[in-house]
Symmetry: C2
Subunit: 159 residues, 2 copies
């Protein structure tokens, strides 16, 4: 993590605004206490030939990692909570298209740390529903409703 100038922060903000790249996934996973993993993510995409640009961003921010997908797209991914919070807090004043997503993501990360009961977890899932709605996510399978069904079935909540 590095200290960026205002111009650098604004540049990263503009880059992120130009792309569809803040999201949070809700994944069924029995090894987790409430049977679901919450996986927040900030990703920058570019075609293979633009790899140098993502390497520039990677170096500038000093967090995350770069990988090449099978389809040749290069992804610069930031997926640990501390790094996401660092990046989004820094560029929030410079976001316009994705300001709501970034604010809601920061709220989700805060709530995620304070989950104690199944009720807390379910409230967090409702926030994730709102987030996915902002992103116009259509292939959504896991929602607060499906989480609630699982938590009731497993006895965490009474139907």
């Amino acid at each position: 993590m590095r200290k960026l100038s205002i111009a650098q922060k604004a540049y990263v903000g503009g880059f992120l605004d130009g792309d569809r790249s803040i999201y949070v996934r809700l994944k069924p996973n029995v090894t987790y206490r409430f049977r679901h993993q919450i996986a927040p993510c900030v990703v920058f995409f570019q075609a293979r030939k633009e790899r140098a640009g993502l390497e520039y961003l990677h170096k500038l921010l000093g967090v995350g990692y770069i990988r090449e997908r099978n389809d040749g797209i290069i992804e610069f991914t930031i997926s640990d909570v501390k790094s996401i919070r660092f990046v989004l807090t820094m560029i929030l004043p410079h976001l316009y298209l994705k300001k709501r997503q970034a604010s809601l993501m920061l709220k989700i990360l805060d709530k995620k740390e304070r989950v104690e009961t199944a009720q807390d977890f379910l409230k967090l899932c409702v926030l994730i529903d709102a987030f996915q709605h902002l992103n116009y996510s259509k292939r959504r399978v896991q929602t607060s409703a499906s989480v609630q069904t699982v938590l009731e079935r497993e006895g965490f909540l009474t139907p």
Copy 2:
């Protein structure tokens, strides 16, 4: 055209870097002196649902126009030379991925204004070849070679 703060310039730079959006087309057109039109362009693209973001950029810069394509993509296009020069000169220090394209575009705009002979025009087309090479443009039909063929056929140049 408006005066932007450093953060605003950097934001526009980041936005442009995240997208594939500076290009120059060479179009056959018999109404032009050298039988070809040179059409420079800076475009920002977004899906329809992100229209507000492009409207923000449009208002911020105070140049260009917004249109919705048939496929639902929204384009914010800047195609007059004065506005392109204004925008690119301003954000050049904040570009990383597209710095070479922006510099070369500014050079092309300068040369374009000073074209007097068919030889000058052909030299300009060679610069456009270089530009299209930077953009990895594969569907390129018009090149300095095809322009040369036309100019020779029409008697502007001796083969």
